[in-house]
């Protein structure tokens, strides 16, 4: 049972690949520039948290099972950026502003949730549509927007006593909280159950609709938080979140979370986020063209992905060469939608 120490069960858990790749890129940077190794990590740690926050939300959504994905995060981030800055400057309180950003995220997620649960719209489409609505609101807010981000919040985000970004520490705590949420709470267990087999979870008495709704709202809230912080850190703009859509999905999966749902690895998100941030730094440092930059990014993602391999999709040549997992700690299977019979490997 999952009362034992959860998360990655062995050092070769899928989450290590993100960290390994990040470490590799860091070494390359160090070799090329020959200086500032510690500062590189410190700066990467001050950028990574933003990606980690959305990544955690995306991870929860992906864990809810096949087909669950939140493509509205980009628009939510942009919208929450404006909302939080506007509210913060109206009330004079950065905290209220951040809360308002989170609230905006929750509202957009509520639209997706209604569409997903009430209208049975597939999540990718529901969140796409909710995102389109959100970006319209963003555009009309952006027209004639006058407020400026709170200076105190910005200073707090840039705080790095002894080179350790305070934000990174805070988000590390948030990551631990999310991990605890998944393991120690009824909601978390229900989410993981729903992700493995929605029908079985429903028959086991889990309120599936409530769990799914909660998950999208959480993702919206986390994207809203990202937007609020990013707007203070950078500046509110209509395309503040654009880059976070694909990256948030990528970090979740490189982080070892099962894309077919039912297994979440919150730590993994950090490894993958650091990998992405450091890779951007490396590419800019070497001055490669965008072409090389993209080739490298894609190539490395594919390399890490194919090297690490996935769950057992039972079949293919690979399964002949792979050792069977020890039954007591069997690595979870990638469950295809039809789970069939006797020879689905454990």
């Amino acid at each position: 049972m999952n009362i034992r120490v959860a998360g990655p069960r062995s050092w070769s858990g899928p989450w290590v690949w993100g960290f390994a790749a990040a470490a590799l890129v860091w070494l390359v940077i160090l070799v090329i520039s020959g200086q500032g190794g510690g500062q590189t990590v410190s700066l990467a740690l001050s950028l990574a948290p933003y990606l980690v926050i959305v990544g955690l939300g995306q991870m929860l959504v992906v864990t809810a099972g096949p087909g669950n994905i939140d493509v509205s995060v980009a628009s939510v981030i942009s919208l929450a950026g404006f909302v939080s800055v506007a509210v913060a400057s109206a009330t004079g309180s950065a905290a209220v502003g951040v809360l308002a950003g989170i609230g905006a995220g929750v509202l957009v997620a509520a639209v997706s949730t209604v569409a997903i649960l009430g209208l049975s719209v597939p999540p990718i489409i529901a969140t796409l549509a909710a995102g389109l609505v959100a970006s319209s609101i963003t555009l009309s807010t952006a027209n004639g927007f006058t407020a400026v981000p709170d200076a105190g919040l910005r200073a707090a985000l840039n705080l790095r006593p002894a080179g350790v970004p305070v934000l990174a520490l805070a988000i590390a705590v948030l990551t631990v909280l999310v991990a605890a949420l998944l393991r120690r709470t009824v909601y978390g267990r229900s989410l993981v159950a729903v992700g493995q087999n929605r029908r079985a979870a429903e028959r086991a008495g889990i309120p599936v609709a409530r769990v799914v709704a909660m998950t999208y709202l959480l993702s919206g809230a986390l994207a809203g938080l990202t937007g609020a912080l990013l707007a203070a850190y950078i500046a509110p703009s209509a395309d503040l979140g654009t880059r976070y859509l694909l990256d948030s999905v990528a970090v979740v999966v490189i982080g070892g979370t099962l894309i077919s749902g039912g297994r979440a690895v919150p730590v993994g998100v950090w490894g993958a986020a650091l990998f992405f941030i450091l890779l951007d730094g490396l590419v800019n440092l070497v001055g490669w063209s965008t072409a090389a930059q993209n080739l490298l990014k894609g190539g490395l993602v594919l390399f890490v992905l194919f090297l690490a391999g996935g769950g057992d999709r039972s079949g293919g040549l690979a399964s002949l060469f792979r050792r069977r997992p020890r039954p007591a700690a069997a690595t979870p299977t990638t469950i295809t939608t039809t789970i069939t019979g006797d020879d689905t490997d454990g």
Binding site: M1, I3, T185, N197, E202, P325, G346
Partner: protein
Amino acid sequence: MHVDNLPAGGAAPPGTDTGPAGPPPVVTARGVTKAYGRTRALAGVDLAVRAGEVLGLVGHNGAGKSTLMRVLAGLEPCDTGTVLVHGRQASAGDFRTVRMAYQETSLCPDLTVAENMWVSSRHCLPRVRWRRAASDAVRRRLDEMFPGHGVSPRDRVEDLSLSRRQMVEIARACLVDRLDLLILDEPTESLGPDAARSLYAYVRRLTEAGTAVLLISHRIREVLSVADRVAVLRDGAVTAERPASGLTEPDVLGLMGAHVAAPPTFGAPTAAGTIARDTVAELLGATGPGLREVTLRVGKGEVVGLAGLAGQGQQEVLERLWRPVRRDTTVGVSRAYVPGDRQRSGVLPLWSVGDNLIVTALRGIARRGLRRPAEERAVVADWVKRLSIRGGAEAGITELSGGNQQKVIVARAFASPAGLVLLDDPFRGVDVHTKTDLYGLIRQEAAKGRSVVWYSSENAEMAHCDRVYVFRAGRVVAELTGEEISEERIIGVSFAEKGEDD
């Protein structure tokens, strides 16, 4: 093409000469072993199936029957030992004449019946216009095997009921230009009695034509009535092989595993007192898809059976009780559900036995949404012990055999504090020993004041109920209590007026 040159009926030429040595073996296993991780599924099996015989294979859940079949069908290599086909060391191609109908149907749910035929029998279909050929072939075969099957080759498998899917699965195993050995792994678990009878009639015809048939079933009486020989598999090895004639059910049960407790008569159902009980759930004139004017009542501590032929509205009743959204249904207590289709609606495949077992009870144990691991562990340990679930709490659920998985799912429901437990034909494919344990469990829990509503396709099981509603065409056609509940009576009521209705 040659799909239909399989001899049918009496017009078949006899098999090879049946001298005193008996017909030659079609497929032979010699010292076959197979291990999955630390689970030894097969521990040295020697078994020969001869042309023209029906070999019944029995054994408790997890004995290794399905694994052995996969090895005999050439689907999985064995670790040591050999499999001979027609006396020769078998290569991949030799297995073409060995066909298997799987325990869990292995059809593609999104494909039509005809397309599924192409998948498994493409070697005997023409390259062009195969769709037409496959449709004709499967229709003819189904007509032959299951008259009145109601399946069209153009139907998608996912739209078919469980029993029709099973018919298609069996028919597709038989659809081949040459068939030496047909393996049927628990074929009748989701078939109605009519279909089962037609199937066995067809099996007889096949064997007369010289095909060997290997039949796995937990319905010992069925095996005894159909098989020529019975082999008993116990813990991965064949422990007995006997001619079926002269064997009785207790004999076989004895061979399968030591002590068979006296026929299950735990806490004999009480006929009296049904009126006095408080009502915990009620349907009043429930009407809707699949249901017509159904009125039924469940009392506290009562075991209520839903009987009748498969698909007559019993599952709809369970559905109503599980999600009482309409006004004609009232349920006063919390509920738990035990699904019969464990692959689709039972197991949570990434989790261990313990995680699977506790998931329903979790909510009750937790305080303010936070889990309490120590309490959970205690509950899990208790149930693993109580039902002697093989592998223990830490084993992955998918490593367990079907029967043991089912135990976990039953335990899941009873480990929760639910006042009403709904059983949706949960004992399909569960061996006798396990069943006996679970029947006892149900009676014990009922005695503690829990109510149980139990749909079963096996009428004999209804003897464990306090009260039984017999369904036909979405209506309750009889309510039986106490002594009235008997297999004969249920069958009698289920089939009455049948000619009129159908």
